[in-house]
Structures are given as C-alpha cells and as structure tokens.
Symmetry: C2
Subunit: 643 residues, 2 copies
C-alpha cells in the first residue's frame, strides 16, 4: 500500500528551461530532412534552397495569339501603306507556342488581316515584341525559394513549372502517444460498465500534433502494468522523436511513468507548480524527450501545449508562433493560489464593444470546457488572482471574428436555448454562448450589464406572474425587453413505470424517496419552494433537499442512474432520458434582452431566430412546451438608461 505521494512543485519556467537545456545537449533540435515528391509537399517546409531544374519557358515562346514574323520584314508597314506577307513568311502562333529562330517578333492577331493567302500588316513590329524569352519566369538554377520556406499551392506549382519534381523537406517530427490505464476502453458503447472511461486524450493530442505540423503515432491502450508500459515506451522510442505517456504521471498506486523514465533514461521533472497540470513528468530516454501528461483532459492539454508545442516547432526550424491574445476585463473575481501558475479557460464576448472574459468551470476533468473555451487567462505565480472587472490578457483559441459575433446568455438554462443557439449559428451566422447560472444569477448578470440576455422563469408567489416583478425590482432603470420563449411543463421526473408510485409534491416527504434538488438561485428550486409552501411542507421533510444538480438533464440523469428517485425538472429532460414524468406546473420561460448592449445585427438576428418557423418547429417537435405566447413581448421598459 506504500505510495510515493510527494511530487515536486517546480516552477514552470524552470522546468521549461531545464527541458530545453537537455534537448540542446542531445542535439535534438538539429534539422532532419527527407526527399519527397513535390505533389505531396503541400504544407511542408523546404530543407534546402529549391533551384529551378529547367528554365520556364525553356524556349522562345509567343506571349500572344498572333503571327510570328521577322521584324525587319515589317519595318515599313503603316495604315496608309500596309505590307503583305506570304503565309510561308509567317507562322500562326497561339499564346505559349514555340517561336523558332527564323522569327524574332510576334504580331497580335487583332492587328493582322488575313487576305486570301497573304497577311496584311499595318504597323511595324519591334524585334522581340510579344516573345517571352527563355527563362522569363525562371532560369534553370534560379533559387525559387530558400531553405525553411513553407510550400503552398504557389510554390508547388512553380516547382512543377520549373521541372522540380522532388524536393528536400524538413522531416515531420513523429510524436508517439501511449495511452495507459486499465479503466480505459477504445470506443464508447451502450454496454460500458461503471469505472470504464473512453480513451480520448490521445485523440486530442494527435489532433494538436496535426495542427502543429507533427505526425502522431498512437499506441493502443496499455493497461496499468509496469512491464507492458515499459515495453511500449521502448518500442515507440525506436519510431518517434517525442514520446508522450498519457496518465500514470501522478503518484498513485498504478502511476508508473516516473519510475519507467528513471529506469530507462533521465527524469528531469516530476511535478509542476501549475494548476492544472501539477502531476507532469519530463524526461529524456535515449536522447529523446518524454512527457508524462496527467489523465484529466484539461491538464493533458495544458501540459502538452506548454512543453510539446514549443519543441515541435523548433524541431522543424520554426520560431514558435505567437498565440493571438486580447485584453479583456474579467467578469468576476478569479482567485488563484500564489504558489502556482494558474491557467483558467474563459469565454470571451464583447459587451458594447468592450471584450469581457467569463471564467469557465475550473474542473480539469471536463472535456466540454475545452470545447466551450475561447481562450485562457494565465495568472502567474506570486499572484492571488484577479478582482472582478480588472483587466487581463486572454490567449485566444478562437478567431476574433467569431468573438466579435458572440452573444452572451447567462441565466437559467432550457433546451429551447440550445435550439436558439443552433438556429442563430445556422441561420444568422451568430454565435451564442450560454452558461447556466440560474434565473436569479441571470438577473444579477443583467444588472451588472455583463450579459446580452438571460433566460428567466421566476415565479412571483403573490401575483402568480413570471419575471416582471423581479425585473422591476432589480433592474428598475434598465432599458429592457422581455420576450416569452416558451411555456414549459415542470414536473417530477421518475423512473420508467414509476415504481415508487410518486403522484405529486406531497410524496416528496415520504422518507424512502430520495430527491435531488437544483442549485440555489435556480428558478426550478424557487418553484419547488413555492410548491412545498403550498403543500405546507418544509425543506427538512425532503430527503435530498440539499443535494444539488445544475441542470434539468443532470437531475434526470441522476434519476436514470439511480442516484436518486425523483427531482423537479422539465418534461424535455424526462423525454431525452426515456423516463416518466408527472406534470405539476406550466411555467413561463422568458428571455430578457438588454437591447443597448447588442449591435443591430445581433438584435435583429436574435429576434429573427426567436420568431423563426425553425425555432417553433424544433420546440414543437420536442414536446412538453406550449408556444401560444412564444415570441410575444411580455414587458418592455424603454426609458433611456440613466447610468
């Protein structure tokens, strides 16, 4: 049971410097080249100057459609005194045709009259006019491009034109990726057992290799067996320039990477002062670098980007490209440990022109965060984080054009928001990013003017109305527009066949029934409280009132997987999970928009999407919704913003 649970906390820049030093010592950055067919050279870098193999053109060529003549024979031609030449004195040529040595000029066809067996010329030709001399484009042995030039379509065409058919290019670095872990399976399927995980980190890293001009060589999954992993490392070391061992880099019972690196070569670093990415490993085996990347996808991506990216570019003789970045203000406080370099994924959008960075969930295990992320904020060591509203530099992984087009929707989540996102992107070319912060979170985001719009379903206990009284209270002076998106059925999600015979809210107080609640500030939680109150029940009567999930689907998923017996959620969530549903209430789900924060294109696009037949069709097709109010303005406050 002994574990080596202590790993280092080496500062990032020290680890990088040590790694580079070792690689320089083994001359790993020396350029290597190979000869390939020019036809497969697109995207490669030349290893030598490329010289024209043959002149282009390699003969005197006509530059026009016309006739080749001896210039001297035309010297006296004029409109008044045209000269007639016999057909045997001339040669009809098209553009590119060979002009033999007996001719020294070409007259363009527009200036020639064919009259029976003669041609009439009304203007003298100047020697060598409209003749492309040999090598006009490229002379044999001309340098077409120097070393380390990128071969694009134009280079490729020019090489071919000059009879260069093979070319010396820089070898692509080969990156061996070895996924390890007994829990891993190659491909997801319906029969996965608890504890099985689909291996996907190697796929992600292979994709990054492709983007960086390297070639990935993936090993099949190796179970947590030290000898098998060791064999895989030895085997891949023979074929690759860089070896990546996925997971097993920590200090757990079955984390063998550091020991293997130590035994086969030299362990440079084990443990980094970064978050995420702490359990990273750097080493050298047989003069080749080895990187042990942690198993969580965001840690794996970070470590691979920090260490593999710079060395792979330098291996092919390229400076490491700067990543584009953008100065943003951060939407909320972002604490950080002073002892580590912290990297936080963010969404980025412009609110009234000002770029805002929205921190995403920092869970390193969430593959979905990398998909959502527009960029990364790096909080250097020695720093305790960023205050809300302070300025930060975001290293972007999404194009500024996409960011400029982005609408933000912070509030309650509903399936209809996903439909809207899809229709906005497809029909309007607009991107919407949506984070579920609950209805009250949405109200707060609106009041801080950090979101363009928010999905809300806040029931006013007194009036029975939705949302309006909250807006009047929390956003009294704000110019705003409240549009109904859908009415939706809220109810209790229960297992197929409803084995516990749950009939309504009252049943939640039965002690054997395990409930799951939504997070504080969620409209559905407020609805539950309202319903409990109506039934004269207290939160203490409910087994699981304090267990929280963040979405309707997560509640339904928990029911489905027997994490609980029931939860309050919308019909849609029961439907997609193939569960039963006991309807309780029909509630309004509205979208509150702050029109001043949107460009005209954004506002028009958003309204068009809400009113589109595609949106209505998608919602109707799904079921559990009512559309009689959809698209209607529920409330509007048009006074000028007083701020």
């Amino acid at each position: 049971m002994a574990r080596n649970i202590y790993i280092e906390n080496m500062p990032l820049e020290k680890a990088l410097a040590l790694f580079m030093e070792h690689l320089k010592d083994c001359k790993w950055f020396q350029l290597e080249s190979e000869e390939i067919d020019v036809l497969s050279s697109l995207g490669r870098w030349t290893a030598e100057p490329v010289l024209a193999g043959r002149s282009s053109p390699h003969y005197m060529a006509s530059a026009m459609d016309g006739i080749a003549v001896q210039a001297a024979s035309t010297y006296h031609a004029s409109e008044v005194n045209p000269i007639n030449l016999a057909l045997k004195e001339i040669l009809v040529v098209d553009t590119g045709d060979y002009v033999p040595p007996e001719y020294d000029a070409v007259i363009m066809i527009e200036d020639v009259n064919f009259i029976n067996d003669q041609v009439q010329i009304i203007k003298p030709a100047v020697p060598w006019q409209h003749i492309r001399s040999i090598g006009e484009d490229l002379v044999e042995q001309d340098m077409i491009v120097p070393s380390l030039s990128l071969i694009g379509p134009y280079e490729l065409a020019s090489f071919r034109t000059a009879s260069v058919n093979r070319v010396q290019v820089i070898k692509k670095p080969v990156v061996a990726i070895i996924p390890t872990g007994t829990e891993l399976i190659e491909t997801g399927n319906a029969n996965m057992t608890p504890g099985q995980i689909v291996e996907s980190n190697s796929r992600m890293l292979a994709g990054l290799c492709q983007e960086w001009g390297a070639e990935a060589l993936r090993h099949e999954i190796v179970i947590d067996d030290k000898e098998l992993i060791r064999q895989a490392v030895v085997e891949m070391g023979k074929k690759a320039d860089l070896i990546i061992i996925c997971s097993g880099s920590s200090a757990g019972r079955e984390d063998y990477t550091s020991t293997i690196v130590q035994e086969l070569g030299h362990l440079i670093v084990h443990g980094l002062a970064t978050r995420p990415g702490k359990p990273a490993i750097l080493g050298i085996i047989d003069e080749k670098p080895v990187i042990g990347v942690p198993g969580y996808p965001i840690s794996a991506q970070l470590i691979f980007s920090l260490f593999a990216r710079p060395i792979l570019f330098r291996k092919i003789g390229q400076e490491v490209p700067d990543l584009p970045s953008m100065e943003c203000s951060i939407s909320r406080k972002l604490p950080s440990h002073a002892g580590v370099d912290e990297f936080v994924n963010v969404n980025v959008a412009r609110i009234s022109g000002q770029p805002i960075a929205y921190p995403l969930n920092r869970g390193a295990g969430l593959s979905s965060i990398l998909v959502k992320s527009d960029g990364v904020v790096h909080i250097p060591r020695g720093n305790e984080g960023l205050d809300a509203g302070s300025s930060c530099q975001v290293i972007l992984n999404r194009s500024p054009r996409v960011i400029d087009n982005t609408l933000v929707c912070l509030g309650s989540h509903d399936m209809s928001i996903d439909f809207l996102i899809d229709i906005l992107q497809r029909e309007q070319g607009l991107r919407m990013v949506s984070t579920n912060v609950g209805s009250m979170g949405g109200i707060m985001s609106l009041s801080r003017r950090e979101t363009h719009c928010a999905g809300l379903h806040l029931l006013d206990y007194d009036s029975g109305d939705y949302n309006v009284s909250y807006l009047k209270k929390y956003l009294p002076q704000e110019k705003l527009l409240l549009i109904n998106l859908v009415k939706r059925h809220q109810g209790l999600v229960v297992k197929k066949g409803n084995p516990l015979h749950i009939q309504g809210i009252k049943d939640l107080s039965r002690p054997e029934i395990r409930f799951i609640n939504r997070q504080k500030g969620a409209g559905t939680r407020l609805l539950l409280d309202y319903l409990l109150n109506r039934e004269k029940l207290s939160s203490q009567d409910i087994n699981g009132y304090n267990r929280e999930e963040y979405t309707h689907l997560a509640v339904a998923s928990s029911v489905k997987n027997d994490g609980c017996d029931t939860g309050l959620a919308i019909y849609a969530s029961a439907k997609v999970m193939n569960l039963d549903f006991i309807p309780i209430e029909v509630e309004h789900y509205d979208l509150c928009i702050l029109p001043d924060l949107l460009s005209k294109k954004q506002l028009d696009g958003l309204l068009a999407a809400i009113h589109s037949p595609q949106f209505r069709a998608r919602v109707t097709g799904f079921g559990g919704y009512e559309l009689d109010l959809s698209g209607q303005t529920i409330y509007e406050y048009t006074a000028n913003n007083m701020q």
Copy 2:
C-alpha cells in the same frame, strides 16, 4: 482561320452578382451533409447539433486518489480524536474509479493514515466530496456543439468521451479541375521539346481547394479537341459540385470552353474588365457552376480566388473569411487602366516601421511572382493608378510576422545574395527579399530610402575603384556602411568548347557573333561599356548590344539555348549552365547598408550572416569568387542623417 476575337469587358462586381444570382436560383448553396467516423472529422464542420450519446462520467466517480467512505461514519473525526475505520468499511479508489452506492464521499489519500488493518481519519468528510457526479462533464443528450461548428482536437475528444462515434458533417464541395491544352505535359523532364509546357495550374488550384476546405478532383490533361473536352466536362459534372476548365477560355483558334458551356448549359460571362484575368468564363451546366480560367498562372489564380473562393465557403455554410490586409505606401508609381479592376502583386516590408509595398513584375505568365508575392494591391476601375509614395491597402497572403522580419535588398543581383538569403532565413530567422534593379537602380533605391541595402558593383572609370565614388556622389549625407561581399570573375560566357573561338572583348565586334547585353543601369553593362571604351569599340559595332536580359543566369541561359553566342556575365552563371567562360575582369561586389533603417535584430543578423563560415563555404564551394575582402568594411559614413 476565322476566330471570334471579341469577348466582353464585364465589370467584376456585375459578373460576381450575376454568378451568385444564378447559383441561388439553382439552390446551389443548400447545405449537404454526410455521416462520418468522428476519428476522421478533424477540420470538418458539423451539419447538426452534436448531442452527448452517454453521460460523462456515466457513473459516480472518484475525483481523487483516496478512499471512499460513508460520510456519516466520519462526522466526529478530528486531529485530537481521530477515527479508525476497518478496511471493510472503506474502498481504496484512484482518480476516475467507480464509487458504488454504499459510499457517498472520498477522502484524499494525503489525509489518510493506514495503520495495520485500519485507516485513521482526522477530518470529517462532507457528503459527495471529491465525487464527480454522473454527467458532471456532459449529460446524455447535452448539446456539445451546435450546427456549423468546426471540429478541432477538443471537439473530437469531447465527442469520443461522450460516446459519439459518428457525426453528421457538411459535405466537402468537390471541385473538378480539367486541364486542357495539346502543349501540356504531366511532368517536366530533360527531354521536353520546344512548345511543351508542364501542366501546373491544376496543381495550384487543387492546393487552394485544400486550403479552402474543398476537395479537388483533377482530370488528366485533355488535348485541344472540342469533343474530348466536352466529354471531360460531362464526366466530371457527374462527380463534382464545381467545374473548373483550365485555359482555352480566351478566343483563340483552340479555345473551346465558351462554346462548350453554351452548348451544355448557360454561359453567363465571357470576358471580364480585370487585369489580369480578362479571358474568364462563368457558366452553369446542370445546375452546377463552371469557371473557365485563363492559362497564365497569375490570371488563373486571380479568377479562381475571385469566383471559386467565395462560393466554396458559402457552400459549406461559412461566411467568406476576410483576408488580412495592411495599409502600405507604394514604392513607385503604379499606372492602371481606368477601364479595368487591376490586381498587382507586391512585396511588403517595413522600412523604419513604415510598411512599403513594392510592385512586382506584372507579367501574368510568371509563376515565380506568386511565390514572391506577399500580397495584392487592388486598383479599382475608374482609377488611373497610384502615385509613388501614396497609400494603398494590400491584401496579404503572408503573415504579418514574416513581413515584420523582412529585409529588402534592391540592387544588382549575384548568386552570393541568394546564399545570403538562404543563410539569413536558416540561421537568423530573417527573410530577405531581393529584386534585381541593377546597381544604379540600387543607388536610387538607397537614396529614396526604400531599401535596407543594395548589392552594387559600379566601377569608377577614373579611379578603378568600385562603388565608393558613386555613394559619395548620390548619397552624400546618408549614414551608410559599404561591406564587400565577394570579388567575382566577370567574363564572356560561350558555348561548351567555344566553337566560335571567342578570346576577348575585341571578338564581340565580329559581325557573325550574336551578343546579348544586360539592362540599362546594370553594373555589368557599365563594365561592358568600360571594356568597349578601353578597346576603342563602339556599341554600334556589337550585334545585339540592344538586346537585354536582366540577370547573369538569363544571359547564360540564352547562350545555352542558342538565343545568342555570348554575353558578359559572372563565372557562376557559366558554371550552373555548364558553359565555357573566358575571364575578363575581377570586380568588387559590395553590399551597401543603411543601418538606420534596420532594427538591431536585422542589422546584427545581416552582419552575422555575411561573416558566417556558412556563407564563405557556400561561395567558395561554388567557385568564380575571391573572398580576401569579404566581410570587410570598404567605406562608412557615420554623420547623422541630415534629412
């Protein structure tokens, strides 16, 4: 012999609008999708929202290496009163392991002491701590990305994680490319006969398709036979979304494209008011667009970029990406015909921070210009061009970083400049662009401060010195540095075996000897004049004095291909062309640098390259040079620039 020599001059925007209208009419922009394996989906666009196929994790999972416990059993633990649990009450788990329903918390391994067959706990566990709930990353049926999302490494990994193994993506548009022309051959070789041309336009266009996300389907070369071309069009029309017919788009004897389009479908445009690119064809056959591109590479590239690029992006549901552009001042007057939209390729570099555009040769037949080009200046119709120094927008096809790193060398050309360019790029990461404007052209460029440096070999007839007297005369107040690059052998290049027994300059007056000269302002031409003067010969005595070539290699190439019998050039040119060489003079070839125009990195890099052993080795290996002065400062003027 009848030709239809009249084609239209349709304005560009009208042609584009007509083309778009026709494509809309045939619903060509409707999105088409196909299902593919996620593993081959990198770089593709989703055709539908992608929903999680299975929750991730799909079970309660440990978020730490540690032990799973019942939280209730730990409530009273503290440092003072540790609690001991039997091994059967806990479960040792690694990160990602399944936590069965009998446990509801995980304690991290660092907080646990194993004592014999018990574990000691000193801190209570909170229910659900360090447990990843089902769907924490993605809940089954969550939308991972909406339609029209680009699938990158992160999307791919997230799909796999959520058991999405196949995905609906937008079909890649298929572009059929049909090269036509009896003069074309597939691949360059040593036995090409005059009039043969290597077909390379289709390769260039195929490369562009790849960059734009389309798939190219190249037909083999079709000779100029109307029926064969027609068959090829019909055959490819069945497989492709867009048909490109390369060349034959003009109105020459064998230009069949317009007739074929007319017979098979609808001819929309024949002839554009653009330069280059006039003889372009746009049409529709069987609801599919057809573009006839001219045969010259620069015309082909322009027409393909103007018409195929926008429709291919729209075909996959994407807005056409803006091309990056940069405001530059133009180095010299750029005349343009008011009746056409003109597109001129340029080099771009910064001189003291200010971006300058240097127009390149406008010959549409020069494949090498596309390789050299950093971007294009568009001079709209109705405009007579740009004055020297005026501002213009350059649409870039090279990254701004490369442009920022670029050194300009306008002046006389020598092979040693190519060696220098190669070493600068390889060893210093600096790009140098060099245009041969002759030594006097170099002096003028230096005096206009539009070049960082210039290669000069200007002989002073009186002193016998090189370059210094010219600099004193033309750049009297300019801070400058003159460094010898090489001394080189100038002489007469003659055919192998010297069949005409040419011995020296005197022989050039023999009437049967066909000479070829260099352009005005070239140092070699000045040298010739000096030598003729020394021998008391006049330019009128020389057969071919007025025929000009622009480089040493072009002179040698002309000798080799029997365009002439001899010319004055450097040894190197005779060597690479395998010709004989009669040495006449040893001349100085110096580099004049204006140090104030270079950044420190550029100046240091340039001097390092000149002094590098690699440079000396390359020059020595080549022969015909002397290096005793190489790298030495010949002259320096350090007064501050008075301008």
